[in-house]
Subunit: 308 residues, 2 copies
């Protein structure tokens, strides 16, 4: 799957991923109205609104990008109904030949991590059958529990040729509280990065490992360092746009050949129609606004990569 | 909710929680047969088998214990169908007046943690309505992202009078890889424990905080230390039984009055019928076997507390 991701990035010339992290407040009123008219102001109505919103977004951007990253929390808040929309979104993205990075940030003790790995990347045994559940292509994973919480994910990735992005240095303001602590001469995030490189060394694709890392766009210096610590790990970079990261901050996350990283934007794309720059599209045409924002983001990042 | 938990522990004289972490391989054949006959070897068939298993377990033990702790990963591996069973299990436990600790180990950046907090402990706004989703009473939370990943959970707990157990020192063999690292004079888990005490100080119940901690039974020395670092935090102690913890290892997790900790057992209870000690019940009577194992566990822990 890491080979497919690299291939699709080359093909689209877009080292970006769009975060499908819908809040109800992002969804234009004409869509929520329609969904509530059918199902009422219920969890099912909310989930339907989000599904209609996602589908139109995907229809407008799928040909420009290699991958999407649905954030499962945004669906989970609507309970089972929300997760039905999550599943429909994953499946629809696959129909459109998009790679799906499940932003699930799971992680637990061994036997439980095995269940999460099965849930998101694998197949579960039911009687004589093996059946996929949510069936994403990559999943994000939290490393706090150490390697026996990671190994079950590695096993499933090996079997299914799928991949991980392990949290190393997250994009949020307080990520340093624990991640930046010094352990001897090293920060904790550096130590985690070293383990990511190690875990990944046994799961190599053609040029990158199946085991990638999450490093926030908001921490470019750390990105520069971690690029060297994990030379074979693809870096998933959240925090572009709404969280404050810009194209020029990101060049050090990439290798010389412009590969090795994939930058996520969520709100900057999916709520582009609310942004002054794209407001002329209007709420009715939020899909076109998102498309324009994707094109601008690709140009920003490729421009920064060319200028370096 | 922490007051209710303390009250129910006093009332049942059982500082224990049963982990409802069903694997399909735990479910007796007469139940899987019935479920597959109705829904086939499908995710729905598997989810139905687990629901029937859970319901019978709960029926046999609900009067003995204050709380249950369903591990959501075990449901998530069956996709949406599994999560329908998770929801039914939470609701059924509430009908039986059990406190439900959602073992979800979520944690993300601020806005996403807010969605997880809503999903598991809060209510989501849909139009003019506020609707609960999974609606557990407590949730377990991963601290790796720092305080802005925790604050949204605290906000929801304040509003809903619900509680958290934050991962401090987990029960698994490799938990030390990052958690035991020395930061200056302190282990990382100790530093996290200090923050748990701090986060909890503003959310006090009558005698304990709404913000508790997870500390594995398999690490009694660390438990002793952390009991002092977080004097007002209830400690959720996994790792009893199948993972190797025994009653006598656990006494230091408790305060002088026998409160302050709640010990989880999962496999030791729910698969008791497979254990030599309870095998005479037979698979048909797995509920009775679980009940006997609960009674033995209560006696083991209370005995150890009396002997200290």
């Amino acid at each position: 799957m890491i080979n497919k991701l690299v291939e699709k990035i080359k093909q689209t010339k877009a080292p970006i991923v769009v975060g499908l992290d819908p809040m109800l407040s992002y969804v234009p009123e004409h869509i929520t109205k329609k969904a509530y008219a059918e199902y009422g102001e219920t969890l099912k109505g909310a989930a339907e609104a989000i599904w209609l919103y996602n589908r139109e977004l995907i229809d407008h951007i799928h040909d420009l990008i290699p991958a999407v990253k649905p954030q499962i929390a945004m669906y989970e808040q609507f309970g089972v109904e929300g997760l039905i929309t999550f599943q429909k979104t994953v499946d629809y993205c696959h129909e459109k030949n998009l790679i799906v990075i499940g932003d699930v940030k799971r992680g637990d003790i061994g036997s439980t991590s095995a269940a999460y790995a099965t849930a998101h990347l694998g197949k579960v045994q039911v009687g004589a059958k093996k059946i996929p559940a949510f069936n994403e292509d990559f999943a994000t994973v939290n490393p706090y529990l150490g390697s026996d919480g990671i190994t079950p994910f590695l096993d499933v990735c090996k079997e299914e040729k799928k991949g991980l992005f392990i949290l190393v240095k997250t994009s949020n303001p307080s990520s340093g509280e624990f991640q930046d602590q010094m352990i001897g001469e090293k920060h904790l995030y550096e130590m985690v990065g070293e383990r990511v490189a190690e875990w990944g060394s046994e799961l190599m694709g053609d040029s990158y490992s199946y085991v990638g890392a999450v490093v926030g766009a908001t921490y470019p210096e750390q990105g520069k360092l971690l690029r060297k610590v994990m030379p074979k790990s693809f870096i998933l970079v959240p925090g572009y746009g709404a969280q404050g990261g810009k194209g020029e901050d990101l060049v050090h996350f990439f290798d010389e050949d412009g590969l090795g990283a994939i930058v996520n934007s969520s709100r900057g794309i999916i709520t582009a129609y609310k942004n002054e720059a794209y407001a002329s599209y209007g709420a009715e045409h939020f899909g076109e606004a998102a498309r324009a924002a994707v094109l601008d983001m690709i140009a920003d990042i490729n421009g920064a990569l060319e200028r370096r």
